[in-house]
C-alpha cells in the first residue's frame, strides 16, 4: 500500500471520528480515590450531572488510595493518556502544582469557559490551600475536611466533664476524670495532620520559611521549634500516664476504639462524620480542636485537608469546557449540600453553607457544623496551609519519628532534629526536580 493511500484512509478515519463526535456527547473522565460509601456518592453526583444535560458525559474511575491515584495520574500523563480530572490530596498538592503545565488552573479554566469565578464565594479556610503564590486557585477543592475533636457523650457525662477548650484543661481536668471513669481519655488518627500541620495553623505559627512554602525559591521547614516539641513531650507524658493511647500510624486502628465506646475524645476529620454515624456504638458529638493557652490566647482557624480536583492539561477545548461545566455543577449549592450531608465533608462555598443553615440541618446535627465553623475562625498569616514538595515522604518521616517518640525509642529533641534534617534534605531534592 502506498503512503498516499494510507494517508487517505487516515484522514477518512479522522473525518469520521470528527463528524461522529459532532453529534455525540463530549466524554470526559475523572480519576478519584473515593472508596466505599464515598465512592457511591461520587458515582451518584456523576450520574446526576450526566442526567442534568445532554452535551457532556463524565465517567468517574476509582483508582485506589490517594497516593495510588496521584501515581496513576502521573504515569498516565507521561504516556499522554491522562484523565480530564484528577483528584489529588493535600500532601500531593506541591507535586501537581509544582509541575507547571500539568494542569490548567481552575480559575483560568472557568473564566475561559464563561463561568463566573470569585474566590470570595468560597468559605475562608478553603480558599488558598490549593492556590499559587499570588492567590490564584489552581485546584478545585472537592472533599474538604479539617481535623476536629469528637467526643463520646456518655463518657463525658460519666466523668462529669465538658469537652476541653484547651490542652491545659484537658491535662488538668478532662483527662484525669475520664481515666478515673474507666475510659481512654484521648486518641487521634493522624499525627502529622492533626498535631503538626494544623497545630501551626491553630496557633498561627509559621510551619516553613518562604511564606509556608507558597513563595518562589527555597523553603525550609520550621518544625524543630519549642512550641511543637513541648506538645509532643506532653503527648509522650500523657501516654505514659494513661491519658492518651496510640495504635500506630493507621487511621482506622485509632478510630476503632472510639467507635467501640472505649474512648472519651478522638481527633478525627470533619469528614469522618458521615461514617461515624453508621459505625459509632454510642452517642457522640464534636467540637473545635483544642489549643495551648501557653502558646496563644487567640487561637486561629485550621485549614483544609482532603483533596482537590485538578483539570489536566493537554485536552481539547471541548473537553475542557465539559470539565468546567462539571466543576460548575459540582460546586453548585445543591450538590455541595448533598455532598456535605452524605459524607460529612464541609461544603466549599458560602452559598451551600447558608443553604444548610436555612434548612435547619445543623439544628438536627450540630456536630456537622463544627468543621466549617473552625475553618471560618479568624485567619492569621500562617493559616492558609503549606506548600512543600516531597511532602508525602516528609509525612512518612514524621510518622516514623513520632512513632519512635511514643514507643520510647527516641527522645523528642532527637526526633525533631531528625525530622528537620530529613525534611530539609527532601525539600532541597524536590527543588532540583523542578530545575
Amino acid at each position: 500500500m502506498s503512503k498516499k493511500n494510507l494517508l487517505a484512509i487516515a484522514s477518512m478515519a479522522l473525518g469520521l471520528t470528527l463528524s461522529s463526535s459532532a453529534f455525540a456527547q463530549t466524554q470526559i473522565t475523572w480519576w478519584h480515590a473515593m472508596g466505599g460509601a464515598l465512592g457511591d456518592t461520587v458515582n451518584e453526583i456523576a450520574t446526576e450531572f450526566n442526567a442534568s444535560q445532554s452535551e457532556f458525559e463524565i465517567t468517574p474511575v476509582f483508582k485506589g488510595t490517594y497516593e495510588e491515584a496521584l501515581t496513576a495520574g502521573i504515569a498516565a500523563f507521561r504516556a499522554g493518556e491522562q484523565p480530564n480530572i484528577l483528584q489529588v490530596f493535600d500532601a500531593g498538592a506541591a507535586t501537581v502544582i509544582g509541575a507547571k503545565g500539568a494542569t490548567v488552573p481552575v480559575q483560568d479554566l472557568l473564566s475561559q469557559n464563561g463561568i463566573d469565578f470569585n474566590i470570595e464565594d468560597y468559605i475562608p479556610g478553603v480558599r488558598y490551600f490549593y492556590a499559587d503564590a499570588n492567590g490564584k486557585m489552581i485546584g478545585m477543592p472537592f472533599n474538604s475536611s479539617t481535623p476536629i475533636m469528637y467526643y463520646n457523650v456518655e463518657a463525658l457525662e460519666k466523668a462529669g466533664v465538658t469537652p476541653p477548650k484547651t490542652w491545659e484543661e484537658f491535662e488538668s481536668v478532662t483527662a484525669p476524670a475520664l481515666k478515673a471513669a474507666g475510659f481512654i481519655p484521648l486518641v487521634q488518627s493522624h499525627l502529622p495532620w492533626e498535631f503538626t500541620e494544623n497545630f501551626f495553623s491553630r496557633h498561627n505559627l509559621p510551619f516553613a520559611t518562604n511564606d509556608n512554602g507558597y513563595g518562589d525559591g527555597e523553603t525550609k521547614i520550621l518544625v524543630n521549634t519549642p512550641e511543637i516539641k513541648a506538645q509532643f513531650a506532653s503527648l509522650k507524658k500523657w501516654k505514659d500516664e494513661g491519658l492518651f493511647e496510640w495504635y500506630g500510624a493507621g487511621w482506622n486502628d485509632n478510630q476503632k476504639p472510639f467507635e467501640e465506646g472505649k474512648v472519651g475524645l478522638w481527633l478525627g476529620s470533619s469528614g469522618s462524620f458521615g461514617g461515624l454515624q453508621k459505625t459509632a456504638t454510642m452517642p457522640f458529638s464534636a467540637t473545635f480542636l483544642p489549643y495551648w493557652e501557653a502558646v496563644t490566647k487567640e487561637p486561629t482557624q485550621t485549614f483544609i485537608g482532603g483533596a482537590a480536583l485538578f483539570a489536566m492539561s493537554g485536552k481539547s477545548a471541548e473537553e475542557n469546557k465539559a470539565t468546567a461545566e462539571f466543576f460548575r455543577y459540582m460546586s453548585s449549592p445543591e450538590v455541595q449540600l448533598k455532598w456535605h450531608k452524605q459524607t460529612g465533608y464541609v461544603p466549599i462555598t458560602n452559598a451551600a453553607y447558608e443553604m444548610a443553615k436555612a434548612e435547619g440541618y445543623y439544628k438536627e446535627q450540630p456536630a456537622a457544623e463544627v468543621g466549617i465553623q473552625q475553618l471560618s475562625l479568624p485567619a492569621g498569616e500562617n493559616t492558609k496551609g503549606y506548600r512543600m514538595g516531597f511532602y508525602v515522604q516528609i509525612r512518612d518521616v514524621m510518622n516514623r519519628e513520632y512513632g519512635r517518640i511514643l514507643t520510647g525509642e527516641t527522645s523528642v529533641d532527637e526526633a525533631f532534629a531528625t525530622i528537620e534534617k530529613e525534611a530539609n534534605e527532601l525539600l532541597e531534592r524536590f527543588n532540583k526536580t523542578q530545575g
Partner: protein, 293 residues
Amino acid sequence: MKRAGFNLLWLPIVLLAPQLVIIGVFFYWPALYAIRSSFYLEDPFGFGSTFVGAGNYIDLFSSAQYLKVAVFTVGFTGLVTFLSLSIALVLAVKADKIIRGTRVYRTLLMWVYAVAPPVAGFIGVMIFYQGNGPMTELLALFGYEFRLGVNYYDTAAAMVAVATWNHIPVNFIFFLSGLQSIPQSVKEAAMIDNRSGAGRFWDITFPLLAPTAFFLLIINITYALFDTFGMIDALVKGEPGNNPMTLVYKVYVDGFRGNDLGGSSAQSVILMVLVLVLTVFQFRVMDRRIHYT
C-alpha cells in the same frame, strides 16, 4: 571435532530476533532507563529535571535510615531463609517416614503455598491484630503485650513469622522429592555402617540433599528479598510509620508513594547489582561445590 554452525550470519539473528526483542523491550530498556534516571532528580510529571551525577547514591549511602532498612533486610532475609528451610527440612524428613495417610499429611503441608503473599499478610494482620488477634491473646497469657504496627520488633517478628509460614511448603515439596530420589541401596548400605539415625542423616542424607538445599537457599533469599512486598504492605496497612521495611518496600514507598523517581531508581539499581551478585555466586558455587548425582 567439527563445530556445527550456521553458514549465514543473518539466519541465527532472525531466529533469535523475537526473543531478543522481548528481552530488550521488557528487560534491558527499563533497566537502562532506571540507570539513567538514577542520575537525575526529575519532576514526576516530566517537566523539569536536574542532572545530579552520583548524588542520589551518595544521599542513600549517607542516610542513616537507608542503612537501617538495609540492615533489617539482611536480618529479615537471613531469618526467613533459615527458619523456612530448617522447618521444611524437619517436616520433609518426618513426612518421608510416614507410612499411613501420607497423601493427606503431605497435601495439608503443601496447600499453604496456594496463599498469595498479600493474602498471607492479611491473615497475619488478623492473627496478630492488636486488640483480639488469637496470637496476640496467646502471648498476653504469657504476660507479653504484642503490638503490631506500634512496636518495631513486634511488627518485625510478625513479618518473619508470616513470610516463613508462607514459604515452608515450597521448601517442603523440594526437600521431600529430594529425599525420595536418594537411592534405596545407598540408604541400606548406610544402615549397615551406622546405626544412629542422626548420624546417617548428617553423613549420607544431608550431603545428598545439598544440591536441593543450595537451590532452595537461593530461591528463599530471592523470595525474602523481593516477593514479600505484598505481605509487608498488608501488615503495615500501607502506612510505613515506624514499622520495619525491606529495601524493595522502600523503593515502592519512595518511588510510588513519594514520587521521587531519581531516588527510587538509584535504589532499584542497587537491588539490580545485588541480584547480579547473587546470580554470579549461585553459578560459581554450583559449578564448584555442589555435585549432582
